[in-house]
């Protein structure tokens, strides 16, 4: 009896193992085919010369040399970083302020305001780029230029000038993602116990002091999270500039990003080797940049420490 029970137990455990492997296998099969294999193949291709059709030939580090000596690559990296910074960094400040306001108990129409601020996130990046593309057209009659003229400033050639294109694209990025970040900060604020604020108020702390000594320190994990997402996302910028600039997207360099450079190499110039080398360089940049930014954000001094209760 004892023997058979033990056997039954063992077969139950074996059955569980078989079930488990069976249940995780669909993911890992798909991962092997469209995740792992392409990633490894990319690393391999980065050392080959290939036009996508003929034979490959090993070229060592040539692809990397070609990319790293190409001024257009450095221009696109510069563009990516500048637009990434202008599009995402202000979101942290404005997002925290918005979330702080939306979290106030006295606020009326809270859900309506929250939904309105979040609404841009629903639109696709293509739609955003097209709508803002009309707003930021080169004409004097474009709404953006009309507003500038109202304030006595000159019209800007938004699509073809160095800073015009970058500013227009950064504004698109900011507009679409600010609601998303606000919602994450709001979730963070709601996790902060209310009696902390109450105690601070009794001690006579102003709203600004509350923000500085309670909110920011306790919100830090959420800020780190959004900074990580923003860094990774900003370095992959592709859709907004491509759609905004339309037919001139790959022939001009004012707003070309690293992913656009990669795309142009691979699919316009049929140079899959240098395209793959760019992909590997991009992976390296993303890992380094997100590590640095996450580290810097985690290092925000926890000012709350000095406060005595």
């Amino acid at each position: 009896m004892a023997f058979s029970r033990k056997r039954k137990y063992r077969s139950e455990a074996t059955k569980d193992k078989i079930s488990a492997y069976l249940y995780i296998s669909p993911f890992f099969i798909i991962f092997a085919i469209i995740g792992l294999y392409p990633a490894v193949f990319s690393l391999y291709l980065a050392f080959q010369k290939w036009n996508g059709l003929g034979d490959m030939s090993f070229v060592g580090l040539d692809n990397f040399t070609v990319v790293l000596q190409d001024p257009i690559f450095w221009k696109s990296l510069y563009n990516t970083i500048v637009m990434g910074f202008m599009g995402t960094a202000p979101q942290i400040i404005v997002g925290i302020i918005l979330a702080f306001i939306l979290n106030q108990a006295y606020l009326k129409f809270k859900n309506t305001f929250r939904a309105m601020v979040f609404l841009p996130y629903i639109t696709s990046m293509v739609a955003v780029a097209l709508v803002f593309g009309v707003f930021f057209s080169n004409n004097d009659t474009a709404l953006a230029n009309y507003i500038l003229n109202l304030f006595g400033m000159d019209s800007v050639a938004w699509r073809t000038s160095e800073w015009g294109a970058k500013i227009a694209i950064s504004i698109m990025v900011f507009w679409r993602w600010i609601g998303y970040n606000t919602i994450i900060y709001l979730a963070g604020l709601q996790s902060i116990p209310k009696d902390l604020y109450e105690a601070a108020r009794i001690d006579g702390a102003s709203t600004l002091q509350q923000l500085r000594y309670i909110t920011i320190p306790l919100l830090k994990p959420f800020i780190v999270l959004t900074v990580f997402f923003s860094t990774v996302g900003a370095l992959q910028l592709f859709t907004e500039p491509t759609v905004f600039l339309g037919s001139s997207a790959f022939s001009r360099t004012e707003a070309m990003t690293v992913v656009m450079y990669l795309y142009r190499d691979a699919f316009s110039l049929q140079s899959f080797g240098t395209g793959s080398a760019t992909a590997v360089i991009l992976l390296f940049i993303i890992v380094v940049a997100s590590a640095i930014n996450t580290y810097l954000t985690s290092g925000i001094r926890t000012k709350g420490k000095g406060m005595k209760s």
Binding site: Y23, F31, V131, L186, T207
Partner: protein
């Protein structure tokens, strides 16, 4: 003191109203432009009231791009991707939450690591694979890479280990339930709320996807809506009224769904990223 508070609140509301206005104004402006002839763009001061070209502009869209076909393609793509991701993620999440097996931790950590790899790294080989299997210009080719969704497994494992108790599974086993039966009759009904969360995340992300479709879809009949919309902007002599009309009609269904379920949408974002 009270005056000070009132003044503070006045500025808070002012800030919020300005932010809400800036968030919503592009939608209104998109609607205005979708109802105006292209010439309206050259008027000073700018036109800010709707005109009478709502139908006319949309007819131009229909002549230019296969709008309904593209919407249909996108809808099918989003539904299939969402269903496949839900199924794969819940099965694997169940295994990672409730079973013991060798290599479990290493496998789970490797899934998390795949989340860091940028999708562009595999772009060229994925294109090559899809081309080799003759899947360029097919809906399956346009959706296949989105079946891979590590975040889904992560969320599902989290939800299942919190909401499905071990006692419940033990009891079902004593009653002679097979593992798959437990998954189907016990786990699935419990994790329906998590399906809503993950489903919304996957559906909206797939809906807005552009780079991959832009790469593998060249035949206008196979376009998804994002590629179709972007193709309106590439010809010279662009008709702004037509573009805005296309964007308007492609955006409005999502906006309506969002306004109906906005709390669910917003909570899905926090659960999807904060947990």
């Amino acid at each position: 003191m009270i005056k000070k508070i009132k003044l503070g609140r006045f500025f808070v509301y002012l800030f919020l109203i300005v932010a809400a206005f800036l968030s919503v104004f592009p939608f209104y402006w998109m609607f205005v432009m979708a109802t105006r002839p292209s010439a309206a763009y050259n008027s000073i001061p700018p036109t800010l009231t709707p005109g009478d070209q709502l139908v006319g502009n949309f007819q131009k869209v229909l002549e230019k791009i296969p709008f309904f076909g593209a919407m249909f393609n996108t809808l099918i793509m989003c539904l299939v991707v969402t269903l496949v991701v839900l199924l794969i993620s819940s099965l694997a999440g169940f295994a990672f939450a409730k079973f013991k097996f060798p290599g479990k931790n290493i496998l789970f950590v490797s899934i998390l690591l795949t989340m860091i790899i940028p999708p562009q790294l595999g772009l060229i080989p994925q294109y090559y694979l899809v081309a080799k299997f003759g899947l360029l210009d097919t809906l399956f080719g346009a959706m296949v890479i989105f079946f891979l969704n590590p975040l889904g497994i992560f969320l599902m494992r989290q939800y299942i280990s919190q909401s499905v108790t071990d006692e419940l599974i033990e009891a079902a086993k004593l009653d002679g339930c097979s593992n798959f039966r437990i998954f189907r009759s016990i786990v699935l009904p419990i994790i329906l709320p998590a399906f809503a969360t993950l489903g919304i995340i996957v559906f909206t992300a797939t809906w807005g996807e552009f780079l991959w479709q832009f790469t593998v879809l060249r035949d206008p009949d196979m376009y998804t809506i994002q590629v179709a919309l972007s193709s309106m902007n590439t010809t010279s002599n662009v008709d702004f009224g037509m573009i805005m009309s296309g964007v308007f009609w492609a955006t409005i269904p999502l906006v309506i769904v969002f306004l109906m379920f906005n709390k669910l949408f917003i909570s899905s974002i926090t659960e999807g990223s904060v947990k």
